[in-house]
Amino acid sequence: MMSTSIYNTDASTTDNYLNHTKGVFSWLFTLDHKRIGMMYLVCVLTAFFIAGVFAMLIRFHLLTPEGMFMTQDQYNQAFTAHGAMMVFLVIIPGVPAALGNFVLPIMLGAKDVAFPRLNLFSWWLWVFGLIFFLLSLAVGGLDTGWTFYTPYSIDKTSSMGGVIPALAGAFVLGFSSIFTGMNFIVTIHRLRPAGMTWFRMPLFLWATYATAIIQVLATPVIGITLLLLIVERSVGIGIFDPAMGGDPVLYQHFFWFYSHPAVYIMILPAMGVVSELIAVHSHRHIFGYKFIAYSSIAIALFGFLVWGHHMFTSGQSPLMNVIFSLITFSVSIPSAVKVFNWLATLYKGSIVFNAPMLYGLSFIFIFTIGGLTGIHLGTLATDVHLHDTYFVVAHFHYVMMGSALIGFIGGIHHWWPKMTGKLYNEFWSRFAAILVFIGFNMTFFTQFMLGSKGMPRRYATYVDVPELQIYHVISTIGSVIMAVGFVITAIYLLESIFRGRKAPRNPWGGRSLEWQCASPPPWNNFDEQPVVGDCYDFSVLEWDDEEQGYHWKEGVAHPGEEESEIE
């Protein structure tokens, strides 16, 4: 009964990764992936709060056609800060760096990632990226939008003074992302335990792996582009500046060659989280494992070939537009395949409506709308009308916020008992999840109509279309509901740390390896290499009333034992 010890003995409650060593420096310079993941989580959620405040400023300002309280310059800085921080500091590092760092090595039964020092360095680069962004606000402000389009960003009489620090910040954050990606690729290749073949990995790892490929291959391109932009703005080499014979549209190609794949850096890990949420909280073996796994890789690869669909009205040739439109539709298929497989997983399941599952179900609903409205934008005839309007704003919030971020928040709820060793309040967590769902849809569904009826993006006022005010008002009310949901979430999560019930080892009945070590995990995760079975076969688990969690069913052999008997 050697391996039983892994599953059934409770690790010491006195020694775990949270209290193994003490002091601020034991955290700031830790090489432990769990601590680094938690530091990422705290930082990313702080940035999410700041960027969220900017979002609320934008929504309240747009309550009236003339704008409520900001000057145009202030408004432009608000939407730039909101967009740049949400993309570079929150959504891109969110799931992979915060949740991935914590969960990925444990899911593999490993002690840590392959390169712990590089991992710590990634986190520090994130902090430096944040400092550069704050610096850009201090040295003259930033009003280019998160896209830094030329010639606006290189024209010093147009854009504000903070462009170079912001570009430096995005550059540094790019390296943070590359290092995390490299680390995860090597970790997944080298540190899988005995018995975990590629097709026995949890789907979250497939998604993280696909993401890491994009991080490593696409991010260098934006790094070079940002450097060129810094040189162009400071010295004037004339590569993007039309006044010097440069091509401002070339920048758009460089930018979207990274930034479209970056959309998949944001959404793929969240899809991985949702695959776990749906399977674990319906206690059903995931349906179509291989199709979900391959579709992640397909999305990662196709994602490199579609950047031109951001430029249908940029004056590029109609032939290029036609080709990019065609390839764009190819990405929609693997996304649809995932949705159908999640639905099929629910069939004949045992579905529980706790907070993680509510976020998982929200994801399916919202991503369906986000994906379907992508058809309007990938289609040439309709995109010409919809490009750069609120229709686009609504679409990418459905994908990046309603899907990627909701997946992240669902993942936080899913792994919170593991990370903190505490259970959060059931009632308030469900209530907040429902508020966020309602608020989100009110905020952003109205923006589809706003856009198709004539509201361009990045407008501080809309005096020419005052009849659209009602949509803005509904949208703002929705954003307040959503904000209340997030505030409640922050309160009960913090409260759980201090007063929450102690979490069992396996509160949901998950089968992947992280549910087999203690909550919170001990310093070394596992005392001995665990042996792996089918991570979606829940039939071997049973509920224990005393423990208020699941454990291995009496009389059912562990995977390792069966094999050793055969041998």
Binding site: D73, D143, G145, Y149, P151, Y152, D155, S158, P242, A243, P248, V249, H283, H285, F287, Y289, T313, S314, G315, N321, S325, F329, S332, I333, A336, V337, F340, L343, A344, L346, Y347, K348, S350, I351, L361, F365, T368, T373, I375, G378, T379, A381, D388, T389, M449, S452, K453, G454, P456, R457, R458, A460, T461, V463, D464, G509, Y536, F538, E542, W543
Partner: protein, 362 residues
């Protein structure tokens, strides 16, 4: 044939009024774009209904009743995977083809288009009618039922011209030309927006498109081309504030508020007395007088319009573009007359109080 079948199916006919999703249709392109839009909508409604109803149905039917593990569901089915991969693939190919045809049909402007040259600059639109030698600012008049081609370029940043009711949009780029065309199908006034972010005045970079009957178009343009030439100096201020000021308004207010540039309120007094300080530290008074650069103060205003970077007023960035070649001498005279008579043209809040013909506004 196909398009009329769609029309019946989706209830869109040429010149539809505003719908739940889209603004009114006022061009030939609008009709064809909307057919594609509505087709995609119906496909979306179908998939949304199918996905969400099965989601809700499963959630109700298979909600957890006990902690006992139920594990008799299927884990994979290759046939169904292939079906739900291939069916959507075929469907998106159809959508792609419909959208591509609609798009390509609108790429080639028809023969014999009426051509307008569009110049975008922070933050106004200028429309030149070379056929009539007329120029419009923030207003574009086009004939009904005749294809119009816009040949566009930008003086500074990338802008983008969008007319929602016409469903046309194209970026306007410095250092090159882009073009689009449309044929208006409805009389009236339609909004025109800049949709590529261009900084502070982006949301005010607006214009109105006036669609007039074809037989009224030519007389209107002939009159527009020459209207200021026969005007007396009494008529010029009202003309300037109604026809020319809209090119200045995104940076220069009439009520004394400081914007990107100095306010026009009291500007003539400041210039006339030389009470303007430049970033160089010089003041205007040292440049006025018979032996100096400008002689009479009117020449300073003329130079500020044609060569605005020469002297930059203290506290401002010098963001103004040159209007060399865009304004005729008599129009510059009109602007100077406007400055001199500004108190008669506006109220204290900076609202314009006269019509172009000099009659008071209602």
């Amino acid at each position: 044939m196909m398009s009329s079948a769609f029309s019946i199916l989706f209830g869109t006919t040429v010149g539809n009024p505003e719908t739940f999703w889209l603004p009114e249709q006022a061009s030939t392109a609008a009709h064809s774009v909307d057919i594609t839009f509505v087709l995609i909508n119906w496909i979306c409604y179908f998939f949304f209904a199918a996905i969400v109803s099965s989601l809700v149905f499963f959630c109700v039917k298979y909600r957890r009743k006990s902690h006992v593990m139920v594990t008799d569901g299927p884990t994979h089915n290759t046939t169904i995977e292939i079906v739900w991969t291939v069916l959507p693939l075929l469907l998106v190919i159809v959508i792609f083809v419909v959208g591509m045809r609609g798009y390509l049909d609108l790429q080639e402007a028809p023969e014999g288009c009426y051509e307008v040259q569009v110049t975008a600059q922070k933050w106004s639109w200028t429309f030149d009618h070379p056929q009539y030698g007329a120029t419009q600012v923030a207003e574009l008049t086009v004939p009904l039922g005749r294809p119009v081609r816009l040949l566009m370029t930008s003086k500074d940043l990338i802008h983008s011209l969008w007319i929602p009711s016409f469903r046309v949009k194209m970026d306007v780029i410095p250092g090159r030309y882009t073009s689009l065309w449309f044929e208006a199908t409805k009389l009236g006034v339609f909004q025109l927006n800049c949709t590529e972010y261009c900084g502070k005045g982006h949301s005010e970079m607006l214009a109105k498109v006036h669609v007039v009957p074809a037989d009224e178009f030519e007389p209107y343009m002939v009159k527009l081309a020459s209207e200021y030439e026969d005007m007396t100096s009494e008529q010029l201020p009202a003309y300037a504030i109604n026809r020319l000021y809209n090119r200045c308004q995104s940076c220069h207010t009439l009520d004394g508020t400081v914007s990107t540039g100095p306010s026009f309120m009291g500007l003539w007094d400041r210039v006339n007395t030389g009470a303007v300080k430049f970033t160089s530290g010089e003041s205007l008074s040292s440049l006025l007088g018979s032996m100096t650069e400008y002689g009479v103060p009117e020449n300073y205003i003329r130079a500020s319009i044609l060569d605005p970077q020469k002297h930059i007023v203290q506290g401002f960035l010098g963001a103004m573009p040159s209007f060399q070649g865009q304004l005729k001498d008599k129009q510059i005279t009109a602007i100077i007359e406007m400055f001199k008579n500004l108190e008669d043209l506006t109220d204290a809040d900076g609202n314009i109080t006269v019509n172009r013909d000099g009659t008071p506004k209602e």
